[in-house]
Symmetry: C2
Subunit: 580 residues, 2 copies
Amino acid sequence: MRLSSLLFLVCFFTVAMSQCAAAAKARHFRWEVSNMFWSPDCEEKVVIGINGQFPGPTIRAKAGDTIVVHLKNGLHTEGVVIHWHGIRQIGTPWADGTASISQCAINPEETFTYRFVVDKPGTYFYHGHYGMQRAAGLYGSLIVDVADGEEEPFKYDGELNLLLSDWYHESIYTQMVGLSSNPFRWIGEPQSLLINGRGQFNCSLAAAHTPGAKQCAGAGNRHCAPVILPVLPNKTYRLRVASTTSLASLNLAVGNHKLTVVEADGNYVEPFDVDDIDIYSGDSYSVLLTTDQDTSANYWVSVGVRGRQPKTAPALAVLNYRPNRASRLPASAPPATPAWDDFARSKAFTYRILGRGTPPPPATSDRRIELLNTQNRMGGVVKWSINNMSMVLPATPYLGSLKMGLRSALPSAARPSDTFGRGYDVTRPPANPNTTVGDNVYVLAHNATVDVVLQNANALARNVSEVHPWHLHGHDFWVLGYGDGAFRGDAGDAAALNLRNPPLRNTAVIFPYGWTAIRFVSDNPGVWAFHCHIEPHLHMGMGVIFAEAVDRVGELPKAAVSCGATATALMAGAGAGGHV
Amino acid sequence: MRLSSLLFLVCFFTVAMSQCAAAAKARHFRWEVSNMFWSPDCEEKVVIGINGQFPGPTIRAKAGDTIVVHLKNGLHTEGVVIHWHGIRQIGTPWADGTASISQCAINPEETFTYRFVVDKPGTYFYHGHYGMQRAAGLYGSLIVDVADGEEEPFKYDGELNLLLSDWYHESIYTQMVGLSSNPFRWIGEPQSLLINGRGQFNCSLAAAHTPGAKQCAGAGNRHCAPVILPVLPNKTYRLRVASTTSLASLNLAVGNHKLTVVEADGNYVEPFDVDDIDIYSGDSYSVLLTTDQDTSANYWVSVGVRGRQPKTAPALAVLNYRPNRASRLPASAPPATPAWDDFARSKAFTYRILGRGTPPPPATSDRRIELLNTQNRMGGVVKWSINNMSMVLPATPYLGSLKMGLRSALPSAARPSDTFGRGYDVTRPPANPNTTVGDNVYVLAHNATVDVVLQNANALARNVSEVHPWHLHGHDFWVLGYGDGAFRGDAGDAAALNLRNPPLRNTAVIFPYGWTAIRFVSDNPGVWAFHCHIEPHLHMGMGVIFAEAVDRVGELPKAAVSCGATATALMAGAGAGGHV
């Protein structure tokens, strides 16, 4: 255990937090979420901003600090929450920021206080977790440095922060209606990719190298001005890269420069060198880059689409070797994004990610949950299902309803299954017509070692199986292995898992027609979402809920349960009739 | 008092409502509000519908009936409420359906039950009253017939129902952001006018008579198919007309036919004949029409814009003399809408509306509240203010916070003034820089007779004073008089008011640079909005709140106070920590 973690634990169990001020401090933020006009890719639309900014402000803290965000909802008629992606919320499950799961959505004009400890250094981000508000622009970076006196296991001279996203011109309202409509309307591919909230629609910064593209006009200080990343020659930089895309799987490369991967999802990994990295929605990485190239030039940072046939131009940023002018665009062509369907290449990258200095997983597990995803049609509407149940989110958040024993507040009485059986042919479209909607709540015992096998399969269309990056709240997990086809269980694949040095992550991808096996310890009482991080897929029901030792959760803040059946239950007996 | 009213009172104070079944019955409705694709004027956009319909279902009841609407919110992230416009909600102020005022907005996936008595026959409607959801299509008709055994004071053979609205192609989200932006972005004039939710954008049903217009293609059974009003020759029809426009003041005429005005806002009026009627947002009328014209022809019903320079084509419907084919469009030109700025004509129409069989007002009033409206700039954002205070709507609805004495839940400590003084020049743009935002809550004693004088004035631009139709919740009021210029008070105008046969209404217009005086008795304990019915004007703060004998309000349904400070107060002591 690191010193910072130890100090954090001491502080956590010490009533007078101020005694720990030397080791960790509380960082306060007052934020207001509101709709505003913004032009991320030079096209104006209504964007959800924080304090008038898009993306939201970057939070920077040190491991062990307490983050306190007073979040006011300045939207007119919509609720809002913010999820702190990658932060485990140990002891504070009500601050996880998932509507219908960890808390009641914050009503317009209300302020909710998120208070949580960032216990582990790393590259994180935050984002809306209600409806598809993330896709409307509600996100920002959260970067946790090592605690004072600690050191990272690698050296660098400077940092560059790249928060990646994709961008749609249709409003999220239109997108959500389409996804719930019969006939179904898919959101399609994004119009633009954004780096730190900036992109260029319908033009290219590198038109000379992009057949058919026109050169972007000088954007000056507009919302869509190119991102400039200033560096000095012969230094090593840490690029922090995180993806909050709605749909797109991405690949990032820097012209002429190698990258050394050193961190994934807030955990150190065994360093390895690559020309480019794949990054799925929900992932974060740190890569080291050394500015050892011709110092008279600037270089392109290019972010393109992988895993789906790309219909969106790459996003470009400028690695600006000082003292070159920032406005001097690189003369060379931007690095080409690898072929979208070269999954062998994607797998090779993903499989190289191994833990460094992270604890090994328990040698055996107490329970294995096998989750098959299928696409199904229910009442004419296309849904994603897990073991034949499509997740719906109820009016009363699970954390409150489960803690208070309000079973009638759950969407369904049926409990989801731990397995889909072995009879399923993952290469064929689903034949199962008996799909249902439900709460998909898996109840986990305290301190159990849980394996989850995510099994991919064919979607409704023939010969289509998509990439899905699954994200777990409240935990890191070990990624024990990946495979193609159907998971063969104890007889086959289970015996071949990596128990020696698997990486710790919070997001893991499943490849088309493949499976991914993860392991975690249910040591964090709370109710945690586990879901595909693709925004429309989650909206279509692609997720489950882990209800973990809910009886050990501390007293819930009133504001987290001030809605639905929990509010009704808590108000019962108090009476609304008399003057107070 | 009518028999039906007497029976209603008997029923109201009888525990076993079923004993009153013969006289009045409960009518139950299960509604779900959701966003859906719809093409009201042939252009598709996201529309708020009820049970998949736009406009929402028509409610038809008899005086004395109890309406029970189980309203499920099927929106994804937005709250919702429905206001029953013109229904006084005697004894049920929590069912008035005004977010932040009478109840907490209904959260997504929640169901709220509206239960109220429709005590008075008339032409009403219902609509959303949260943000600008009315403008997104959340509305429908509510028609109350006389109770069994009662008769209307006029005869007719059939009915035609016309719910009028205007239509914008921009989403309400974009509209709301624009209205709150610096620089301010006005919503502009509507793209279309709709009759019963149908209009035709960018084409005309009567192109031959409309220079520059192209003929609409046959719309068949599409959302924007023309409204057909079938009639038989030589009969008298009651046209029920209500306007739920966001902005537009309208004028309705029927080619070749006279109209006899008999009802306004659910109250009978002295019949008078006209060629056309003006109808402002929030108004409803019944007019009688006799089918005494050439029976071989069909006729246009035309609805055009008044009061603002019209940039929107009239809406047309077909009065179809059977057995003529419905698809035979009238050969004649649609009736021309009177000049938009002929306010003398508008005033002449409005001034002719007088009460018929309605009780006279009390001879004197206990209090006079004079409300000057001005347009002001606050922090670069354009606001409407009343006596220098622009109304904001708080997180905790007033009915709950006032009844429970939670003063800290009010937006401001400052109480609004009963007068703006006489120093103001209504013909000049406001010079007052000390405008503020506040709750604009006027506390009214029980059973007081209250006069309100609405004073119009110049907006921010020179020589601009707009029409504002003000709507009162929870009451009808007598319209005692109108005048031009500044109201001269006791010395002048107050003495000349009509106390003999003023009409009872729930909506009254103020003309440019003019004033309108109303009187009502505060005999309905509750918290009632009084506001300009123009949706963007209300959104910009043009309204006040009447808190009336709140101590006499009965026990509030928990669901109406299950948010904000009222929920917090009611949950206090109950504790959220233990298992229930």
